[in-house]
Structures are given as C-alpha cells and as structure tokens.
Symmetry: C2
Subunit: 201 residues, 2 copies
C-alpha cells in the first residue's frame, strides 16, 4: 500500500472522527462542512471528494458495518435456514467489531449516538438499511429457492428485528457493545418464540 493510499485512508478517518465529534458537541445541523474541513486542515471542496454529502460522513461507520455483515452472511453454510443464517451473520459482525481495534469500536458507538440524536440522520440510516435489504433479499431468495412474498417477509422481519434490537440502546444506557449484544439476543429469542416452526423455510 503506497503513501498516497495511506494518506487518503488517514484523511477519510480523520474527517469522520472530526465530524462525529462536532456533531455530538453542537448537533448535526448546527455543524457546517467548513468546520469539519477546518478541523482536519482541508478545504471544504476536498471534503466532498471523500463524501458525497454531509449525511454520508455521519453514516460511514454504519455503512462499513453493513458491508461487514454482508460478507459474514455470504460465508454462512447452506445448511442453515435463511433466518438462522441472518442471525448468525449478525452475531459474527458484532464479534468482529468486538475483537477489532478499540478506535473502530469507539467510532461505531459515536456514530450510533449521532444517528439517534438526529431524526435527519436516522432517516438516512433507514435508507441505508433499505438498500441493504435488497441485497439480503437476494441471499434469502437464493436459500429458499424462490423470490416470493415470503422471502420478502423473512427479510423484512430480520430488518425489524435488528431495528428493535438496536433501538433505544443509548436511551437505556446500553450504548456499549455488551448491551447491544444482550438486547439483540433477547430479540432473536422473541422471534424464535413467536414464529411458527419452519416459518422461514
């Protein structure tokens, strides 16, 4: 990896960190691109060469996490039922984050706080999840053999489960990864209890 590439990655991370700190300190809307760029000693124009919008920088950690989830999903064995594979992939993604760099964890937590603090960003995250859902649907349909209403329902149920599982985590002082994991397992258990056997097959 050359110097140029390393510098770019460094600037990207610096922009994300500066942006998240500013968002947390003074709010998303009150923060300007100029402030973020100034904090990293970069021109505002350069900011937009790294991120397509102000929203994108706030959602970058979430987007990265979704990519991790998808790669986890694609290596799940074919023997698992669709929803089981999704749940296991989620556990795997969380585990990777837990074992990874502390800075990455910190960034992820900060990003989540920003998302929950601003309805604007929250909507953006929803769009991210919707885009992701299309790719998840492909995997579910592949495992079930058909892309029908039920495949869509399984996918949508998974999205809902994740959403409920992560929701209100900061509100309940469960902003750390342990709290998230626990909440997530409770929600998976609830799905298991509520659904008819073989519902996702």
């Amino acid at each position: 990896m050359g110097l140029r590439e390393r510098k770019k990655a460094k600037t990207r991370v610096a922009l994300i960190d500066a942006a998240l700190d500013l968002f947390l300190a003074q709010g998303y809307e009150a923060t300007t691109i100029d402030q973020i760029a100034a904090a990293v000693d970069v021109s505002p124009r350069t900011f937009f060469r790294y991120f397509g919008s102000k929203e994108e920088v706030a959602l970058a950690p979430a987007a990265d996490a979704q990519d991790v989830f998808l790669s986890e999903l694609h290596v799940r064995p074919a023997s698992e039922s669709p929803f089981a594979a999704l749940a296991q992939a989620m556990r795997g993604a969380v585990a990777l984050l837990r074992e990874g760099e502390p800075e990455d964890r910190q960034r992820f937590i900060k990003a989540r706080q920003v998302v929950e603090a601003s309805p604007m960003i929250f909507a953006g995250q929803m769009r991210l999840m919707m885009a992701n859902e299309q790719r998840i649907l492909e995997e579910v349909a592949r495992r079930r053999g058909v892309d029908d209403l039920r495949s869509q329902f399984v996918t949508a149920t998974f999205t809902s489960t994740i959403r409920v599982g992560f929701e209100n985590c900061t509100l309940e002082e469960l902003s750390d990864l342990d709290g998230m994991t626990q909440r997530l397992e409770e929600t998976f258990a609830l799905v298991d209890e509520v659904m008819a056997p073989g519902w996702d097959g």
Copy 2:
C-alpha cells in the same frame, strides 16, 4: 369556512399537484422550487410557507394517509387483538380512500410513484413511518398493557407488513388501489400463517 381558508387549501393542493406532476415528468432532483412555484403563479418564498421543505410536498399525501390510518386505529374496538386492530384500521383507511374523491385517489397514486422513483423521497417516507410507528406503539402498548420488547416487535412487524404489502406495487403494474388491497390481504394472510397463535396478545 371563509374565503381566506378556502384559498389556502386550494393553493396547498395546487402546489402538491404541480410538484407531483413535475417530479414525475422530469424527476425529483431535477425539479426546482422555482418551477413548482411558477406553475402555481406563486413566489418561491410562499412555497416554503406551505411546506417546510421540497421533500415535504412530495410526502404530503402519504402524511395525510397516515393521519387517516391513525384516526381509524383509535376507533377500533378494544376486543380486537393489537395486530388485528392494526390490520382492520389499515383496511378502513384504504376503504376511505377508495370511497373518496377520485382526485384524492389520483394524487395518492402519483405520490406513491414519486416515492418509489426517488431513493431520496423513499428515505423520507421511512422517516414518516418511523415517526408514525411511535404513535402506533403507544396504541399497541395500551392494548397489551405493557410497553415491552414484544409490543415493539408487534409494531415493527406491522410496519414491515405494510411495507412489504405496498412494495413493488408499481413495478408489478399494481399501481391501482385494487392491486394494493389484494397484495395487502395476501401479506396479512401470510402473517396469520407464520405467527404462533396469540403472538400479539
């Protein structure tokens, strides 16, 4: 209702219709506030006195529909289980739209086409649904007696059901209300089949 009030309502509807037509004709992002305002012979500044943002005018019909749904929900008998009440309220809202003015139906369909054509607006609709979900959760919690994880799950499942039911309607040439109704009933039936008895009680 005085002249002033009538004029305002008329202008509001005219702005929505002009905006939707422009969005459909040349795309959401390519349409400017100036164009919308010019089409209604109104100053751009006035547009923002009716709608807080460009997005809001596109989502106005959806927001109105959600209000109708909520008022339907609040008059459902207490004897119905939470999810049954939600489903019946949805049927009621669709029925009201079906029996209402043809122009309102037309506007609703157009708005849905705009929403599906633009990821930008689609995200906005998600935010609308999330805001709505909070109010739905209150009703579910009221009926179940507790605001716990299961109440949240019931609410999220309903949101997912509606989303799956409405999704791809235009893609499948089911842009009319009949098609939507049919699709919605199929999805409700699937939920009924997949969930354990008494799951929402």
